[in-house]
């Protein structure tokens, strides 16, 4: 069980800037101090602001919107943004309020992406730790399986998984987990290989500690730093991935709001002379991705400085 709580530690930290609900209790002071340092990096602050904005929208989606995301207002289909009336960001072909769909889409994205990341990190850390610590045939087995997964083009892998199991939030999570964990595993394996030769690991071995204890208690906490930065970057990629899935029609099944799906619906109307919905949804995706990337940059900056 200790294994699991530790696996999630980096995840908690990575999410912390936006939710700040579950900071690492042991190092609360250290955590607050690092967050204070983050303020010195303008990039990170922009990232945090953007992420906080979307998190706020996602949490209070039903407060900040007037219409149900799936409610059709046939009296007002294909309204332009800022054209007056209640639909300030306009409506789509079916008369659904774009702002409502965007807000509820944020909720969907910000639930699916972090959940997928936690799962991918859990699997990736287990794979990487085992491969790096034990080496030999364990390493060979895990690394070759990872290579096989990584050798598939990502999109094709998703199409296979989703078309076999069907489109649903759970299957998106499974697909992202399977696709991302080998990459995480490689990073963790590399970090483990570096750390396992340190003297405190030998000291633990000499006092007869078990492999699981050494991996979870001695090694993992020290791999935390690079993993947190990686998690932030990867969160951005995951959001893009979810967008792509939606765009390909492999995202959340309609009519649930989904940013990628909105881009797809909007794209169909670009030639018809109304590109605004595709643009709005694309801006939503890009802003969140950029937000995570800027935060990752900022974290890297403060972690290399000290």
């Amino acid at each position: 069980m200790t294994d699991q709580t530790n696996d999630q530690a980096p995840q908690v930290d990575a999410n912390a800037p936006k939710s700040a609900e579950q900071p690492d209790r042991v190092g609360l002071a250290k955590f607050l101090y690092s967050m204070g340092l983050l303020r010195e990096s303008p990039a990170a602050m922009i990232g945090v602001t953007v992420i906080t904005f979307w998190v706020f929208i996602a949490i209070f989606a039903d407060v900040v919107t007037v219409y149900e995301p799936n409610a059709n207002d046939y009296a007002a289909t294909l309204k332009l943004p800022f054209s007056g009336g209640d639909h300030w960001l306009g409506t789509d072909l079916l008369g659904r309020d774009t702002w409502s769909r965007l807000a509820y889409g944020a909720r969907a994205t910000l639930i699916i992406a972090p959940t997928a990341m936690v799962c991918a990190y859990f699997l990736g850390i287990v794979m990487g730790m085992l491969a790096g610590y034990y080496g030999g045939w364990v390493d060979n087995l895990i690394s070759r399986v990872s290579d096989i997964i990584l050798s598939f083009p990502l999109i094709i892998l998703f199409i296979i998984i989703i078309s076999v199991f069907g489109a649903s939030a759970l299957n998106i999570i499974i697909a992202v987990t399977l696709a991302a964990s080998p990459g995480i595993g490689r990073i963790v394996r590399g970090l483990t290989l570096d750390l396992r030769n340190l003297e405190y690991v030998s000291a633990a071995q000499i006092r007869g500690e078990w492999g699981l204890y050494i991996m979870a208690i001695e090694l993992l906490p020290n791999a935390r730093g690079p993993l947190i930065v990686d998690a932030c970057l990867r969160m951005g990629y995951t959001i893009i991935t979810i967008g792509i899935l939606g765009f390909l029609g492999l995202g959340l099944p309609p009519p649930d709001p989904d940013w990628g799906g909105m881009v797809k619906d909007g794209a169909a109307m670009v030639l018809g002379g109304s590109p605004e919905m595709a643009i709005i949804a694309s801006i939503a995706i890009s802003s969140l991705v950029i937000g995570f990337n800027l935060l990752a940059d900022g974290l890297r900056e403060i972690s290399t400085r000290d």
Binding site: L198, E199, Y200, S202, A203, Q205, I206, R207, G208, E209, I217, E218, P221, N222, R224
Partner: protein, 694 residues
């Protein structure tokens, strides 16, 4: 120091202040520093880490990095103010007029260029000569640094030559454009002692030949004695004492310099006759320097109201030309040398560890086609071969040897991280040679613990001190209840003389010496019957080293533990150990009581080792024995005697063909050599007092 001598002054630092600018603010690394070097002089700068030695060297090179700067004072080189030079002039000066040799030869050389290319580049850049001329001069310089086969070395890459040879290349590179000033920043610290001795000889030779001024930076007082005419002792960014070697070592005036001497184990002294006296406390951080004397808080002669008032000038002593010290109480202080150690005779105890014919071979498979065809795809690296010795309870046995001699492999086999290939290791009646640590029972694991070398790697940075020691107590089932565990951890902190409040600290909040104390506490927490200490003090500053050695001694006495002390430092070994085992290429060359090892008869290898140790005493003359060639690879060791390829007393075919016998020189003193004991006993001792030698 008169005006007429000014022409002869190569480098003059006049009251320079060097600061680093960080987020926290300005950090005055070196507040006020003056230095004058005359042409052809060799000057040593000594001090512990963090005292600003390297900062001074970097300032001379005008290479302080983005956040460093010279805030006041002037640096003039050959009469010119370096701060007024343009960037281009500076570039021309660095590398051609002022050259520097760094500590790590491997990182000073570019691994992707051949040595020839790197050497020639210096000449082509600075002197604008043709490639052919540059090649010729590079080869000439390589032979000047005694590099065997310089033509072939030119075409090699840095990783293809040994560490000692790499350092020779770095020195050759520095000397190529015939600089008038050579800065050497710990040039031999990364090298083995016998290699170090040859590099030191080389530097002395080159200096004579090219009349170069040397600024030699080191923490090792013994080296300074060997290579320098004058030396300065730095403390916390200031020069505290300066003088000729004779003045500094024989008429020491500053309490810090005394302190340094009291920390170093001198040859001939051991733990029964002398105590090491560590300097209490730590170097204060640059932005937290106390008013008045920076050494004040650690000085036992500190006098409130005198030493903590205003800046203390550095004054000439006894109207001498050269000897200066920064201390107000120079004339009042009468230094009493370190107190005498406790005379404890270690009784002949029961045998805890008995090693019989233990060997550890690593199998290496060579998968090249030719190797498979010839049926020799499997090689054995004989890391340890046929080791025999025993250790009694409560005694300290030292294992000495240069890198690659197999001493760390031996520690791994003992702790069960590796298993022995042959032979037996009887530890408290159990043969543990073939049992890996996972299969050892708790009692056995608890009885055999280890202290590691690197203070930064020995503690997990993520866990507190309390967790680190407490885990041992819980793991070995001494106590389970968290409250009592905490109590026991506190007791262990008392044992290693650290405040109990340290229980919540993380390793990054501790200094190197404190980390090493925690490591000692961790090793002793399970009350083991034997502790292996693998180079436990070699990464520490001398003052801290002394404290850790004393601590190991005391804790060992308190727990009546057998200590297996692995080290390359012969003076530390002489001080701490009761018995010494000398290893070379996986075999024991000589073993016996500590004082026997340091007197004839010597094994020829031990003799060379002893001759190479730098002794911080200008009165002691060592017989000069230098080893030729490089240590052979463990993959392909010499047949017959392992030492035969480098032995100064090589007898001929006998040594090549037959493994030498273990000869008994009496009282368990074993020498593995073909030369009869009687003949070995006839050599004169390595260490002689100067008077005796004249």
């Amino acid at each position: 120091m008169t005006d007429s001598a000014n022409d002869d002054i190569v480098l003059e630092l006049d009251n320079i202040g060097i600061s680093y600018f960080t987020r926290v603010g300005e950090i005055p690394a070196v507040p006020n520093f003056s230095l004058r070097l005359k042409r052809g002089e060799s000057y040593g700068l000594v001090g512990e880490s963090g005292c600003g030695k390297s900062t001074v060297a970097m300032a001379i090179m005008n290479y302080l990095g983005k956040n460093g700067g010279i805030v006041n004072g002037t640096i003039s080189f050959e009469g010119r103010d370096m701060q007024t030079m343009s960037e281009e002039e500076l570039r021309q000066t660095r590398g051609s007029k002022i050259a520097m040799v760094y500590q790590e030869p491997m990182s000073a050389l570019n691994p992707s260029l051949t040595i020839g290319t790197q050497l020639k580049e210096v000449l082509i850049y600075h002197e604008n000569i043709t490639n052919a001329e540059a090649t010729e001069r590079s080869i000439q310089m390589l032979s000047d640094v005694n590099m065997p086969d310089p033509d072939r070395v030119m075409a090699r890459y840095p990783h293809q030559i040994s560490g000692g040879q790499q350092q020779r290349v770095v020195i050759a590179m520095a000397m190529l454009s015939n600089p008038s000033l050579l800065l050497l920043d710990e040039p031999t610290t990364a090298l083995d002692v016998t290699v170090e001795a040859t590099v030191i000889d080389l530097i002395a030779q080159l200096r004579e030949k090219f009349n170069t001024t040397l600024l030699y930076i080191s923490h090792n007082l013994g080296l300074i004695v060997k290579v320098c005419d004058r030396a300065g002792v730095m403390y916390s960014g200031s020069m505290v004492e300066e003088g000729t070697i004779e003045e500094l070592f024989k008429k020491t005036k500053h309490p810090y310099t005394f302190g340094l001497f009291d920390c170093i184990p001198t040859l001939g002294a051991d733990k029964h006759t002398r105590m090491l006296e560590p300097i209490p406390g730590q170097v204060s951080l640059p932005h937290e320097r106390p008013p008045g004397c920076a050494f004040g808080p650690r000085c036992k002669y500190f006098k409130p109201g005198v030493c903590d008032q205003g800046d203390i000038p550095i004054e000439h002593i006894d109207h001498g030309e050269t000897h200066r010290a920064r201390c107000l109480r120079v004339d009042e202080i009468e230094h009493v040398p370190a107190n005498v150690g406790s005379e404890v005779t270690v009784s002949e105890g029961e045998v805890v560890l008995d090693i019989n014919g233990m060997s550890k071979f690593y199998e290496i498979s060579d998968m090249s086609l030719s190797a498979i065809m010839s049926g020799q795809s499997k090689h054995f690296v004989k890391a340890n071969e046929n080791l025999n010795f025993e250790a009694q309870r409560g005694r300290t046995i030292a294992i000495v040897g240069e890198s690659g001699c197999g001493k760390s492999t031996f520690a791994k086999v003992l702790t069960g991280l590796e298993t022995a290939t042959e032979g037996e290791i009887m530890f408290e009646g159990t043969n543990i040679g073939a049992i890996p640590v996972q299969k050892r029972d708790k009692k056995l694991i608890r009885a055999l613990q280890m202290v590691f070398q690197n203070p930064d790697g020995t503690l997990n940075p993520s866990h507190s001190v309390g967790h680190c020691i407490g885990r041992v107590i819980k793991k070995f089932g001494i106590e389970k209840d968290p409250k009592k565990v905490r109590e026991l951890v506190g007791d262990m902190l008392d044992v290693v003389r650290l405040p109990r409040a340290f229980i919540t600290r993380k390793p990054r909040q501790l200094s190197g010496g404190q980390k090493q104390r925690i490591a000692v506490a961790r090793a002793f927490a399970g009350n083991p019957s034997m502790v292996i200490a693998d180079e436990p003090v070699s990464a520490l500053d001398v003052s801290v080293q002394a404290a850790v050695i004393n601590l190991l001694n005391d804790v060992q006495k308190q727990y009546n533990t057998t200590l297996l002390f692995i080290s390359h430092d012969l003076s530390v070994v002489r001080f701490i150990s009761d018995e010494i085992v000398v290893m070379y290429l996986g075999q024991i060359m000589e073993a016996g009581e500590a004082d026997k090892i340091f007197q004839p008869p010597y094994h020829p290898y031990t003799e060379a080792l002893l001759s190479a140790v730098p002794i911080p005493d200008p009165d002691i003359v060592q017989k000069r024995i230098r080893l030729e060639g490089e240590m052979p690879s463990v993959m392909d060791p010499p047949t017959g005697c392992r030492f035969s390829t480098r032995c100064p007393r090589y007898l001929g075919n006998l040594c090549d063909e037959q493994e030498p016998p273990n000869q008994d020189a009496g009282d368990g003193h074993i020498i593995k050599c073909h030369i009869p004991i009687g003949e070995l006993a006839q050599v004169e001792p390595i260490f002689n007092k100067k008077e005796a030698a004249e």
